[in-house]
């Protein structure tokens, strides 16, 4: 386990959620949740089904507008900004329900992920100069490399709809990585991977930190993975914060065991 300090640079964390609350009609899915992710950190967000993890993700990334509370990213208030605007700041996420561009090949999916790097004016679109061409070439090379990293090289030119469930999960992560996130947020990335694959995946994640991404926020039910990679864990239950701490503390927390882990953890 990497023993990084919670906030390496002191000062402002990369991502900070304050008092987040989300209500749908009569249901309060998330209630007054606050936590932060510092630079270089891998943070796990766990909790029983329906605890509000995905809803938090959606609020953090602008897909939902929080009923109450604020979100700060890199010190700026991004509450209720548009998803793409938040993504442009370097906060990239994946989805719980498999979301890929099914009719594009694996390579095309990942290449598309490089969108932000290649943004250009309309003029440059219609009359591309050398700079644009170079950016395009680089994007292609980088895309191939990312596909490789995620272990999908074999499937490079297969349309995504031909992939099995587990492969799709990996592709999603690849697309997110292609967008060069500062903070990468993954919603159950290992769902659909078997125990062994999940462990390998965890190893891959750890290698990303500091090189490809600064920090990670992961929602995951695979405890081996979570405990193996996370520096710190935040636990939600019924939309509220239940606990926060290092993996060992969480494992030993009886409330967490009761609400989330079940007797296997005992």
């Amino acid at each position: 386990m990497t023993a990084l300090p919670t906030q390496r640079h002191g000062g402002e964390p990369l991502l900070r959620a304050e008092n987040l609350t989300m209500r749908f009609g009569g249901i309060t899915a998330v209630k007054q949740v606050g936590f932060s992710v510092g630079p270089g950190e891998i943070v796990g967000l766990i909790g029983p089904n329906g605890a509000g993890k995905t809803t938090c993700f959606n609020m953090l990334t602008g897909f939902y507008t929080p009923t109450e509370g604020r979100v700060f990213f890199k010190g700026a208030d991004v509450t209720s900004h548009k998803p793409h605007a938040i993504a442009r700041l370097g906060l990239i996420r994946s989805f719980q329900k498999t979301n890929v561009m099914k009719r594009l090949t694996v390579f095309e999916n990942v290449l598309t992920g490089h969108y932000l790097e290649g943004r250009q004016s309309l003029l440059a679109t219609f009359f591309p100069g050398e700079r644009v061409r170079r950016a395009e070439r680089e994007a292609r090379e980088s895309a191939a490399a990312v596909v490789e990293t995620m272990g999908l090289a074999r499937r490079m030119n297969a349309p995504a709809h031909l992939l099995s469930c587990g492969e799709l999960r990996l592709l999603e992560v690849a697309v997110a990585l292609a967008a060069k996130p500062t903070l990468l947020m993954l919603d159950e990335p290992a769902a659909g991977l078997n125990s062994h694959e999940a462990l390998l995946f965890g190893e891959t994640l750890k290698t990303l930190i500091g090189k490809v991404v600064q920090s990670l926020l992961i929602v995951e039910h695979n405890m081996e993975l979570v405990m193996g990679v996370c520096d710190r864990i935040v636990v939600l239950n019924f939309g509220q914060m239940l606990a926060e701490g290092e993996p060992r503390e969480i494992l030993n927390n009886p409330k967490v065991a009761e609400a989330y882990l079940g007797k296997a953890a005992a």
Binding site: I27, G47, P48, N49, E188, N194, G262
Partner: protein, 252 residues
């Protein structure tokens, strides 16, 4: 193809004729083959697991059995009768329920409606009501959300719903494709409890599961699938005790 030898099916099989017998099943998606001759037997009252790496063909096998996919060749027999290439609705009617991967709940219907429709083939309203009561009993969370649109449930809630719905047809054979996917450890445990309980009531279970530990804990036997073929069939205990062997199979 691999260094691992193919075990003879009868070595691990329980006595008597199998209720489900799949022989030399070939399945393809369009022009790309996915299964290259799968054979497996499931006996009455057993819980059998299919395990294997990503993309090995586990889900494809279940889809072929439940009629969602056509078999190129090979046979599938249910209680001695061939059911290969019959439409799914006939296969459900024959007593095989398939809870598919990725949940597939009906997003625009309420939780209640989703569950009720699981018993589509049951024409007695009272009977459906009893079964619904049972479903809500098994998954209290769903009772709380009975009137919510299924599409707005959390991932895990949808997974519970999908399982509850599959059970509504009161199948003789229940095929679960990654039932613990997206469930919290505690919830996963509860689901496996349910599986055990159902099994104890005489329902045969064919299980695809990524959480090998859990799978081997409930199943009495397991088949390992590798790139569209069965490469091994062993009692669960043997596999459980030999993590190295497992790793070799599942490494992908």
């Amino acid at each position: 193809m691999s260094t691992i030898t193919m075990d003879a099916p009868d070595r691990t099989a329980t006595a008597g004729d199998p209720v489900l017998r799949v022989q030399d099943l070939h399945v393809a998606y369009g022009s790309t083959a996915a299964l290259h001759g799968i054979s497996l037997d499931v006996h009455a009252g057993e819980t059998v697991a299919l395990i294997g790496a990503n993309g090995a063909g586990k889900s494809t096998t279940l889809r072929a059995i439940s009629g969602l996919l056509k078999a190129r060749s090979g046979s599938i027999d249910w209680n001695g009768k061939p059911i290969a290439n019959r439409p799914p609705e006939e296969i459900v009617a024959a007593g095989i329920a398939h809870c598919p991967e990725e949940r597939h709940v009906w997003p625009g219907m309420t939780v209640e409606e989703n569950i009720a429709l699981g018993a589509y083939l049951c024409r007695s309203k009272d009977e459906v009501r009893t079964r619904m009561g049972m479903a809500f009993h098994r998954f209290p969370r769903l009772r709380e959300r009975a009137r919510q649109m299924a599409g707005t449930l959390s991932g895990g809630e949808q997974q519970m719903l999908a399982i509850a719905r599959a059970l509504m047809s009161e199948p003789r054979l229940l095929m679960l494709d990654e039932p613990s996917l997206g469930l919290s450890p505690r919830m996963a445990e509860e689901v496996f409890e349910v599986v055990r309980a159902i099994n104890a009531h005489g329902v045969t279970v064919l299980l695809v599961e990524q959480n090998i530990h859990n799978a081997l804990a409930v199943a009495s036997r397991a088949y390992v699938v590798q790139t569209g073929r069965i490469t091994t069939a062993r009692p669960s205990a043997e596999l459980r005790d030999d993590p190295e062997l497992l790793k070799a199979y599942l490494g992908g």
